[in-house]
Symmetry: C2
Subunit: 419 residues, 2 copies
């Protein structure tokens, strides 16, 4: 065992011990700790912003793009917003202890299934220091210890943010080890985390498809895949074309770097003539490059020929794949062949088409006459979100507080034995 | 890619196609198919029993123990019971389509979270041919395609059972590929199944700890761990000792080869004198070998010294580890250190002790004054059970039909876009 592995496992063991403590804390205590963390973040804003300045300086010097540096940046105002998010978490209901179902068995045993924390949650995430606090807060509220693995480009920021939260936890009578950064800087540390069976109850990788793929392939602890989104907008033969255009432009361009942005357009052949010329013009005006099949290309010289890879791509840029399909069935088959199980929508006035699309498309969220951009914990009213699951087990779609819990069956009897 | 891998992946692809069909079938059609399968099993009983006789003959010739051969054996009566179980499945509510939650968002979007099938479920199981039909039936009822990997000792039985079910499915207008045996006889086939990302939605290994460990360590598809049970009975200082003895004997001896049988006894020091002499005598009378710590050994010369391995063991035999503990806290710590997260019970008259034990013991089921043997889908009233999950994600405890589903968010609007 290497020193780093020893260190990672020791950290996970401390997290497990802290989790056993957290599982016993009632809502009031956890909410008070969240407010204490918010207070501490506000009180130590200068320290946080100074550490963050060292990160952003290094990123800029290393030639990181402006958008990247912006997401990395913490200002006084942003720290205040992060602290406020903790207070909003405190205001949410506590999922722990909720009775999911309960009954009295024929033999008189009272049986209840209740929500309990998962235990130790490992989160691997991108270079956004606000996630450090968000994730720690969501874990704390749901009674879980957090093992946080942020990007090395946010290292100075994360170190201070975690120190501030740990100090606040300790002052509130909580185990500081409820929130920890995974030791070490290397990818090796992530490997040790992924192998920590019996210590890490679930690992949530956020970020690029390559990271998620690597974690899923190598982890020996349960993993929840999040976030990759090759989302489709299908314009049906019976679509209201003004609605379709509004939804398409919103889904593709309102914010193109996020997982619920549209990446692919399908148009029923019957409305291609009526829809595509205006749609391609509107997309071009917004700076979108369309990668289309031959039929789409027939409507504009600006269309780039689409490859198989284009239809499978999650661009997260101002690019869009597009194809004309001959039927609703062909649209559904195309979506199921290429989607990542995130969000796909149909624009239609036909009830049967809407029903068939929602029944048969295999995705976390399937919409009728809405933008793909609504698949989001905030939009769904969850109040907090740790990520958007694109797998089918445990949780699917936006993951709020209940999705960070497990359950336990409680049996109470008076001496029942099995005959 | 080897021929076997090609064959396993082709089988999984056919299962995925069948699953897409199953997901659209309403309850009535699925129930009719279950009855058709039951009818076919009855009509072809002679063929099934003859194939099974070849399996049991081979097992006997190979020197398999009588209990093993018995579990492998199908008689006319047992086939009838298996068919009847399919009819009982048909009578259960269909989890698919159930609205888990639903609301109208502030922007007018109707949002519903509904249950959908997982898709393709792989099940690796022991030499009990009734599981072949049970598992196929539970998967069908919940809209999932089943990829079954039974024991090679039940090969002839399983081949005929699956052929009978496939014929019945086809006759009922269902895709026969909704039920398949995994091709090939070797462990290699299981390896290919475990690597079939994008084709197998979940893998459920049932059986020995070694098998489960190997699947968890190597699978690249989601896995639900089932069944290992190092279950504890803790006799608290305030226990009613008659109740404690009755529960202990039931939990250990009513059926010792199952996962919810007790494997470990903890006794509070205050009642050790009053409880252990009678308990050890009663256990000895039932043929139980007690592996005890020094304090337990002080009560009977028949006690075998317990090792660390004993406290961690799932014997599934007439063996029991035992220790005296000085406090409720020590009992809880011992349980959490050694249990497998299955079922642990406390015998007590003290409300605070009961609450603390149920809050702090980390297991799928935690009981007060009941036998460990009640953790079971049938006892819990689920009507059907695919296994008992000992992990925290997706499902924990007995898994019935709802546990074989995922969910999907359905959004319906009239042109909503995100501002």
């Amino acid at each position: 065992m290497t020193d780093l592995q020893t260190e990672v496992l020791a950290s996970a063991r401390r997290a497990k011990k802290a989790a056993a403590d957290l599982a016993q804390r009632p809502r009031g205590a956890k909410d008070a700790a969240l407010h204490a963390m918010a207070d501490a973040l506000l009180a130590r804003t200068a320290e946080i912003v100074a550490a963050n300045a060292r990160d952003t300086e290094r990123a800029r010097a290393g030639g990181s793009p402006a958008g990247y540096v912006d997401r990395l940046t913490l200002t006084e105002q942003r720290v205040a917003a992060i602290a406020e998010a903790l207070r909003q978490l405190a205001a949410l209901p506590d999922p722990v202890g909720e009775t999911v179902r309960g009954t009295v068995l024929p033999n008189g045993i009272e049986l209840r299934q209740v929500r309990v924390p998962l235990g130790v949650v490992g989160i691997i995430y991108e270079a956004r220091p606000n996630v450090t606090v968000d994730a720690a807060g969501i874990c704390l509220k749901s009674g879980n210890a957090a093992l946080l693995r942020g990007s090395s480009s946010a290292k100075e920021s994360n170190t201070v943010l975690v120190a501030v939260m740990r100090d606040a936890l300790a002052a509130a009578g909580f185990p500081a080890d409820a929130v920890q950064l995974v030791p070490g800087d290397s990818h090796e540390a992530v490997g040790h985390l992924m192998a920590a069976r019996g210590l890490v109850d679930v690992l949530i990788p956020r970020g690029g498809a390559a990271l998620i793929r690597s974690v899923v392939d190598n982890a020996r602890v349960p993993v929840i895949e999040t976030g990759t989104g090759n989302c489709h907008v299908y314009v049906d033969a019976s679509a209201d074309l003004d609605t379709a255009l509004r939804i398409l432009i919103n889904a593709k361009t309102q914010r193109y770097s996020v997982c619920n942005a549209a990446e692919s357009l399908l148009v029923h052949a019957d409305v291609a003539d009526a829809f595509l010329p205006a749609a391609l013009a509107a997309l071009a005006e917004k700076g979108v490059t369309v990668h289309g099949d031959k039929r789409v290309a027939g409507y504009s010289a600006a269309v780039v020929p689409a490859t198989e890879e284009d239809f499978a791509a999650e661009y997260e840029s101002l690019d869009l794949s597009a194809a004309v399909v001959d039927s609703l069935d062909a649209a559904i088959d195309h979506v199921n062949a290429y989607n990542t199980g995130h969000t796909d929508v149909i624009v239609t006035r036909d009830l049967n088409a809407a029903r068939a699309f929602q029944l048969r498309v295999d995705a976390a969220a399937v919409g009728v006459n809405v933008s793909t951009r609504f698949t989001d914990g905030g939009e769904f009213g969850f109040g907090a979100e740790i990520g958007i699951s694109t797998q089918k087990t445990h949780a699917r779609g936006p993951m709020g507080l209940p999705e960070l819990t497990s359950t336990k069956y409680l049996m109470v009897g008076d001496g029942q034995i099995r005959e």
